[in-house]
């Protein structure tokens, strides 16, 4: 199958991106500056991320659609205000995670942002669950551009007036160059920022304007180190079909009232796990030295019994040291528990730690 390209592919080339294939797309892993500089720039200034490979699924319908979606997602969508967003999951009946997503209530339906590698499968699952009278469109004509970092609000508001009034995890329609764009105040880097859904035709012009105002293109490499420092999960690593949101320590994203009353996909298992506890749980892990424990690194207790596995691990440029997340036997999940990580046949000391590794600076309205 031919590799897919986003509307910004040419701009990435001009800015000397190194490309990788990701979920069938040719995506920039880094630019000339390199991952560390790009990461730090995002934390201090504002970075631009092409996330057009992600799925933008519009589902159109009235309040009956809301009820239908509540049978799927563990959210109180009835009470969700228009233009407000929630982090959630598409699960199977056993609460295994098909995908993690952001769902936003619109005037005439919902917008669901899906992971690139999962979007086609998500569409099939949702289409089979949702009545055919509700129109569903998985966008091909729209780019998705994230601008992330403390200066993103000052930069974006110069180009699109009014975005400064958005609260965290809310959105609205704005005008850009005589066309409508949907902007949410959200992101996945642990920084304040926005995600802009914009037509493919306008995307390059828009990104160039962001750059003229002091922002820079940032690759997927830095996106990964940024999200890991922020303690955020990545599908295919921390989350997959064999893990549940409770095991992933994402209970906060599930409506308590919905757990009480059930009636969404996986609700029985979620309720049971919340009440009875889980065997394995996602934790933050900080190696003591400089050793980097990458995905699939085995975790042992101090008696050298296997107790878990790393799901993501790298060097955190803002933390200036190695950081990791993994799943561990719940008995050893308490903060400051000493563990051992097996890297290239040798065991290295590490500690269970709280998340995030790097403190977030989301704006008002921030929850978690």
């Amino acid at each position: 199958m031919e590799i897919k390209k986003t509307a910004l592919n040419n701009l990435h080339k001009i800015h000397k991106a190194k490309f990788v294939e990701f979920a069938g797309y040719e995506m920039p892993i880094q630019y000339e500056q390199g991952i560390i500089e790009e990461h730090k720039f995002t934390r201090v200034e504002a970075g631009i991320f092409d996330v057009s490979h992600m799925g933008q699924l519009f589902i159109y319908g009235d309040q009956n659609l809301t009820l239908e979606l509540e049978k799927i997602f563990p959210l109180n969508l009835k009470n969700l205000k228009i233009n407000h967003s929630k982090y959630s999951f598409l699960m199977n009946n056993e609460a295994g995670i098909h995908d993690d997503l952001i769902i936003t209530k619109l005037n005439d339906g919902f917008l669901v942002i899906l992971n690139a590698a999962c979007k086609d499968n998500d569409y099939k699952i949702l289409r089979s669950l949702i009545d055919n009278k509700y129109k569903m469109i998985l966008e091909n004509d729209k780019a998705l551009v994230a601008i992330q970092g403390p200066k993103s609000v000052s930069i974006l508001s110069k180009i699109i007036n009014g975005v400064e009034n958005l609260n965290f995890m809310s959105g609205n329609w704005f005008n850009y160059n005589q066309s409508k764009v949907y902007i949410t105040r959200s992101g996945y880097t642990g920084e304040d920022g926005f995600e802009v859904s914009i037509s493919n035709e306008q995307a390059e012009k828009f990104v160039k304007e962001l750059m003229e105002n002091g922002s820079k293109l940032i690759g997927l490499g830095a996106r990964d180190t940024l999200r890991l420092e922020a303690g955020l999960c990545l599908y295919g690593h921390e989350l997959d079909i064999n893990k549940t949101p409770v095991e992933a320590n994402l209970k906060w994203a599930i409506s308590k009232e919905r757990v009480e009353n059930g009636g969404f996909l996986g609700s029985d298992r979620i309720k049971k796990q919340i009440n009875d506890g889980v065997k394995k749980v996602r934790v933050g892990i900080k190696p003591e030295g400089r050793i980097i424990a990458r995905e699939k690194t085995k975790i042992f207790n101090t008696e050298e019994t296997l107790i878990g596995e790393i799901t993501s691990g790298t060097f955190g440029p803002s933390v200036n040291g190695p950081v990791a997340m993994g799943y561990i036997d719940d008995k050893f999940s308490k903060k400051d528990t000493k563990i051992l990580l097996e890297v290239r046949g040798k065991k290295y000391p590490a500690n269970i730690c709280g998340l995030p590794f790097y403190k977030k600076s989301y704006v008002k309205g921030a929850t978690q």
Binding site: I35, T225, R290, I292, T314
Partner: protein
């Protein structure tokens, strides 16, 4: 001091008497990206030509370091362990990896000179 030679695994080696200094090439660092961790062979260990002699890790992945010739490690560069970023900024000089008392000088003959290596690096990155 002899000329600098290069291996297909992107190491450089410079012989001074019977001691050789070994590091990784600028081309290697460009392929790896930002280096954030390095593990060096301990002083006193014997290493065999093309055998494992350390690890470098970038933000993206871990890669083995090989020794282009056999010998005994007589020195390793702790300054790059403490500050792996030096490997990106000065790979073919200050950020050497280790020094070997070499076993067989003729092993150097199997390696490339600068011109041959530059050509090899150009071809292997295409």
């Amino acid at each position: 001091m002899s000329e600098v030679k290069f291996s297909k695994e992107h190491e450089w080696i410079k012989l001074d008497g019977e001691v050789a200094t070994i590091g990784i090439t600028k081309h290697a660092t460009e392929m790896l990206g930002d280096i954030v961790f390095v593990e060096l062979p301990e002083i006193g260990t014997s290493v065999d030509k093309d055998g494992n002699a350390g690890v470098v890790e970038s933000t993206k992945a871990a890669s083995d370091v090989y020794t282009p010739v056999s010998g005994e490690v007589v020195e390793n560069n702790q300054s790059i362990v403490d500050d792996p970023g030096k490997i990106n900024s000065d790979p073919e000089n200050e950020a050497w990896f280790f020094k070997l008392k070499i076993k067989d000088v003729s092993e150097l003959d199997t390696l490339m000179n600068k011109e041959e290596y530059d050509q090899f690096a150009k071809e292997s990155s295409n």
